[in-house]
Symmetry: C2
Subunit: 430 residues, 2 copies
């Protein structure tokens, strides 16, 4: 029995978050938005996927999804997964659309939305959460799902297979551990640049009381402000909890090195996005200068080729994969495996809208089947907008609980889609 994709619906869904200062950092002030894709089929199931955007321009990624949709309409899930790389390249290497990237920005984010919806559909058809579908998948099929084009100098199919085979050892024990304890996470809800000092202090205190022992603050404003806010947070959390810092790319390379020299007294665990996301060599110089503070990046890393170089150049100590900036599950698999080969822990990027829902699956799969360690692993957590999802993340004592429903947790409630559709939903008509 095959399930055929009959149409691709695209929804421009935007949440008016900018006004509240949530999500404001050194360079972004966003209305958290989703280019939301729903794959209808000839059966009862639908596949859901999205890419996250920051408000204005969400109509552009929606247009890109429409430009790519003909590559999936009329195809069956069985056909797609019979030749997964050919399918993936039909999107990522379209002979005309590729020019718009290649494999970066709008066109690649749209690819990610569609590819993720295809995986969501498959997981639903098999009745498994995506993390379980992946963790239980034969090594041969996982390897066959990855496009190794342009990364064979860092990871070969044989190396990937060896990592995945080794990941089968002890997998049941790791699963029981996660079922019992959940997956470690950290919170980014305390230190947005848009918040005044007293709000930062109050949120930090509250988060600590809730059990969080790892918190992230935004930096990249005037350095004296960054220092003052870092002091507040460190005072509240004490010397043992982890404090991460995130500059959202605002610094030049030498500026990053100088500013981290000032912020080092607050013992940051990592400095995230210290400079331009494309600057592999810059990150490498910064990592060398600020060690033992780790350099972290990835939420704006355009594709597996950027991640490959960050690893090859020893430019990062933490790799922050994103679920929908790159071309969906197939590409993320290659990134997770490269990180394992180079021995760099993955701490996925989340927040925005729906990113926590997505990345929990990736982190769980990584632990169960690839990385096989929780050392230095944490999933970002931001307490925003989960109420709009059918299967929202659940946390307990600062840890993610395992998703149990079939799929990729990407399905949005129909009433939320209607309410927040841009520009015609009730929220935006006002």
């Amino acid at each position: 029995m095959s399930t055929v994709i009959t149409s691709v619906d695209v929804h421009d869904v935007r949440f008016p978050t900018a006004a509240a200062g949530d999500g404001s950092d050194a360079i972004n002030r966003g209305d958290y938005s989703a280019t939301y894709v729903s794959l209808r089929t000839d059966g009862p199931q639908t596949g859901a996927g999205f890419t996250f955007t920051n408000g204005r321009g969400n109509e552009i990624t929606c247009a890109a999804v429409r430009a790519l949709a003909h590559h999936v309409v009329g195809r069956s899930i069985e056909d797609i997964f019979a030749e997964p790389v050919a399918f993936w390249r039909s999107l990522s290497a379209d002979v005309q659309l590729r020019w718009l990237g290649p494999e970066k920005g709008v066109i690649h984010m749209a690819t990610g939305a569609i590819v993720n919806a295809v995986w969501d559909l498959r997981a639903k058809l098999e009745g498994k959460p995506l993390w379980r579908l992946l963790a239980e998948m034969p090594t041969e099929e996982l390897v066959r799902s990855i496009d190794f084009h342009h990364i064979t100098d860092a990871l070969t199919p044989a190396e990937a297979a060896a990592i995945l085979d080794k990941g089968l050892v002890g997998i049941d024990d790791r699963l029981h551990e996660l079922e019992r304890d959940g997956f470690p996470s950290y919170t980014t809800s305390v230190g947005w640049l848009g918040y005044p000092d007293d709000k930062v202090r109050a949120l930090t205190r509250q988060a600590y009381a809730e059990g969080w022992r790892a918190m992230k603050m935004k930096v990249g404003g005037p350095i004296d402000d960054d220092v003052r806010r870092a002091r507040i947070i460190r005072e509240e959390i004490g010397p043992d909890a982890l404090l991460m810092m995130d500059a959202n790319q605002v610094w030049d390379v030498d500026e990053a090195i100088a500013n981290m020299a000032r912020l080092a007294e607050f013992d940051p665990y990592w400095i995230e996005e210290p400079t331009h996301a494309d600057d592999v060599l810059g990150h490498a110089r910064i990592q060398q200068a600020v060690a033992p503070i780790r350099v972290a990046t990835g939420e704006v890393a355009a594709n597996r080729v950027i991640f490959k170089q960050l690893l090859q150049a020893e430019a990062i100590g933490v790799m922050q994969i994103d679920a929908c900036r790159v071309g969906g599950v197939n590409e993320v698999l290659s990134e997770i495996l490269m990180a394992a080969k180079f021995g760099v822990p993955i701490c996925p990027h989340a927040g925005g809208v729906g990113l926590c829902e997505y990345v929990q699956h990736l982190a769980i799969f990584d632990y169960l089947r690839v990385g096989t360690s929780l050392d230095g692993r944490m999933v970002e957590y931001v307490d925003h907008l989960h109420e709009h999802f059918v299967d929202p993340v659940r946390t307990r004592d600062g840890r993610y609980l395992l998703p149990e429903q079939p799929g990729y947790s990407a399905t949005m409630k129909p009433e939320s889609i209607a309410e927040y559709s841009f520009p015609d939903g009730p929220v935006w008509r006002q």
Copy 2:
């Protein structure tokens, strides 16, 4: 007297080139297209700019131009050029749209179209071709037009000023030379992958007879085919003419090194785009392996940060700037100056539709005011679609003649826009 931009018209213009095999290479098979921007003003002048795309998806860059248009409507040219970096960042660092790049792909190409139209408008208002406007501009104003964010580790404003000041020495002699001889170029019209062998031989013979002594062929198909075609071209052009090869990113790093070992017998002058455009470290490894053959890249380099790293890593021997992949004239200025600092010659990317019209201005400015040498400098030339421009390129004996009309040579004929508008123009309605 100020000139105010009153509206931004966007046209989706596509030429049906894919069917003929023109422009086919290892990864592209395009209908050459322009996201064409026309800035109307409160005066008689309009500004024209475009970004080049490959057919399908041109509606996405058009949507991106519309999303950015509010940053120019209502502004005067005088205001814009009073604070050029603030203007440029209003487009490239928009707090919501930036997420869609940043500074790459669709959103950045749209930025380039608008920025170029603004420069075209200014040049027209001053009654000068763009190359002359730039070449005669005071050093201080040129430096003030560049956003040095994220490149200060490679080029400081003081270094840029020193290069530009030095470029004033002998500028009149260089101008007289160009007026007399034109600017060197090479042709890419001989060796597209879509052409059969006998067509390659005939086109090569014809180009040689027309005076071309530098020609580029596409490689990246089956290596035996590449070898056979290279032999044909080298037979036709003899040992002294230059033969360039272009793989359009199709190879992995080790594959590029192996294939160039086979193609070396045909004495290639450069290998262009041997691997993924984002792979700075890969290009560096290839350059080290294939020397003295030069590695060339740039037509898909997303922004100045990628070019910066290619130079820092000594990954290229030829830098191929593009006029509208990056954020327009302001960003290209930074790239031209970085190339000069690192001593790498610029050979701009052209072809497609309108790219020759654009880049001739950049190459001429580079020679007059920055690079000050013709050694190793050539502008790509492809004999396609020039008839659609009001001020098309003119060549003589394989050299570009200096543009004389005011502006950036980007203005398309109204009848061409109407004829090739997608999907409603007569060409596409059939």
